[in-house]
Amino acid sequence: MKHDIQLTVNGIPRNLTVTADDTLLRVLREELHLTGAKKGCGEGECGACTIIMNGEAIRACLVLAVEANGADILTIEGITPPNGITRVQQAFIEADAVQCGFCTPGFVMALEAELRRNPRATAADLRNALGGHLCRCTGYEAILQVTETLATSATRPKNTKKRA
């Protein structure tokens, strides 16, 4: 059974024909070629497929494409400014919170969503936002460092804010 859906993905309106059991993740990756979101488990246990849908961080492997009809979607490709990177991305680089990189887009998107929702998020808020995200390489020390860095810079007065 085919369904026609409409999505806004990274600011661009998209009309797609999908099947009833198509996941949003498959459609983003294979139809729209936005491969930044990864499939690590397919059942919402690892977080590697995290994207932002209507302002919320969600696991794209758990959402059916038909459920996303009409949604506003942001993927990691859509948050990265053309000539730079975001504060979250910069913090990951500086803390060396990246090793194999497969889980990284999911972690970045979860923090990105939290900071967009709550610009004054504390380190604890940011850690909570990463609940259920798995990383097998780093041992989380550097990722915890990222949450500290972002919490600090989020609460810093605007004029002294570190530029990415």
């Binding site: 099947t19 070629h33 990177i85 680089i93 060396d96 798995l134 390489c137 989380y140």
Partner: protein, 774 residues
Amino acid sequence: MKVVGQSILRADAREKVTGQTLYIDDLQFPGMLHARVLRSPHAHAFIKAIDVAAARKVPGVRAVITGRPEEQDLGGGVYPLVGACIVDQPPMAMDRVRFAGEAVAAVVAESVAAAEQALKLINVTYQKLPAVLDVREAMAADAPLIHPDLGNYQMAKGFHPKPGTNIFHHYKLRKGDAKKAFKTCDVVLEQEFSYPHMSHVQLEPHGALARWEPTGGIDLYSSTQAPFVVRGYLARAFRLPLARVRVRAPAVGGGFGGKSDYTVEPLTAYIARHLPGVWVKLILEREEMFTSSVVGRGVCGSYKIGAKRDGAIVAAQVKYLLNAGGYGECAINVAVGGGQNSPGAYRIPNIMVDSYAVYTNRVPVGAFRGYGHPEGNWMSERMMDQLARELKMDPVELRLKNAYRAGDKNAIAQRLHPAQGDLPRCLREAAKAVGWKKGASNVTRTRTGIRAKAVCSFMKSPVQATNAQVSALLKFDEDGGAALIITTCDMGQGSATVYGQIAADALGLPLEKIRVLRDPDTSLFPSDWQTIGSKGTYTGGIAIIRAAEHAIEQIRTTAAKGLGVPRARVRYENGVITTGGKKRYPLHLFTNGYVRPDGRTIGGPVLGYGVYTPDLQIPGIPKPGLQEGQGKVSASWTFGAQAVEIEFNPKTGRIKVLQLVTAMDAGRIINPRLARGQTVGGMVQAMGQALMETMIYSPEGVLRNPRLTDYKIPSLEDLQDTDFKVIFVETPDHKGPFGARGLAEHSTVAIPACLGNALANATGQEIYQLPIKP
């Protein structure tokens, strides 16, 4: 500016944080089809019949493939068996299955959904056979045979199978006479241990993309640590010249040994062979990563230790039984490496090791970060603490008394060079960092539980083929920069970054002038055995330095001819050529031929070539003047010590890990930040193995927890209260690049034993089985 020793930012970090890095499942080709695989529900069974008629009729299905002998026959009864050390596995089960999860059939379709729908319509008739899951049962004389053909398999030199049994290799190591020596000891202790099967849980599942070329060759992409080894397996299995097989590796989303040797490549190539000219993609589901891939560990055994009253260890005897699962190729050398290193990092004059690689009806075992070492360490370091208790000695003092020192001959009779590292210093550093008090109990009671500490030693050497070469190319650009072409796969350990640093300093050029290629291709890149055993920095670094030297020689030759001066007068330093006078010539004048004022060009583009070849012997082959199993079988060791502090809550049984400490002598550290990242990551993996992870089988041999919901690995919440301490003792290596040694796996080795010892200190409860369940 020199960059070796500096915490340069990871070369591929920006690509990765922006989601631009391409992994295997991110690759798509026009006309590409998707494969899905039917897996055996039985651990041991004959395949009597397979009915694929209904599956073929599903819309979108392009091929249904089985592993029946007539379908796998390459011609004249030749089957594509895979292996190098032991050639025992067909790409797909032929007439019997040897583990639950083995590939029995496959569907290739226009979509994964269509392929999955068709899989459900394949009807397989099995005749069940008794499943053997326990390694000791598998070794029993009356055990059902998992490979009745064991005696007929092709095997490499130095392996000792026992046809008519399930033992496919017995590695023996003898030093002195342990049997006699035990009789002279004041104290003899013996204990049985086990370390269960585990999954690597790389976040990226295994996958490959294969196309059978019109000329009869294989073009294949894979998430692999081992492009050249995979090429070899495919060429041998499908009877092709190496030139007809091309293997390329995109970014690898975590390896930890689980993507070395082979994974899904032979299966994907076999499937694609049915649809020549079409790209076929096979990506495993997470469940298949547990049931149908290569898993790790699965060792049990015993450790017997004998010592004098003063603490001098006199003898050790280790039985090391590797429950290798249904096929042997990826496991066979784990038994060798694990056996060699199992006595521990101590000067023990009498050693007896018997290590067995044994077939069982479980998921096949392969390399897993530490390659046999954590298993032996779990035994030897738990015994050291018990020996200390028995002798009423401080456990750190007992270790210091017996620790390997420069000049000692180790278990395999290799003499340790003074530049190979300082274990006693690592022990002292780890003890100091964790706050160990000599002679004290190191146990305190708090309101929330009992706090206890432990300190253990470790050592690790890469277990590698004697011809495990690495070669590097430096291809120079017209502006004096260069591309570094080396196959070593960067699966997150940071080799691309570290290699750039080594190349930059070896050439005296700024880092920005070096491009490190990260997309290995067996047809374009120089040969490199595989990226395993924490040997990348050491072996690849040596090859890079030699390539730089070779390039500089070419530059000097071109400069001498071009400028008309004797070669001996031409000097190269930091990108500048001088000929004895004041004049300084920039490098780029000579990298692509020197152009004289009249336009005539002297020399050609510079291509530096460097190679590392180990100087090693095969462990299982007798050598004159040495005892059984001894010889020059390891190129380098890295020594170190680890420590933990835990808080045990007797009411809840919960273990909170307060401190994880590693003090390691990895020689000169090329990039401290990346080295720390590796070390912390390894400690947390080992903590997961010790406290949480295990593969649980039903009595019939079916895995009960093949999902991340049921197989838990450490999460961020588990590490919020943990303090990490990493100390690098930097005794420069005498051969390694800029004095460096390997360090990537090492921090996994002694953490389980540290946790077991700390729990014993806290509670008096002696645990010998992992994971630790107090």
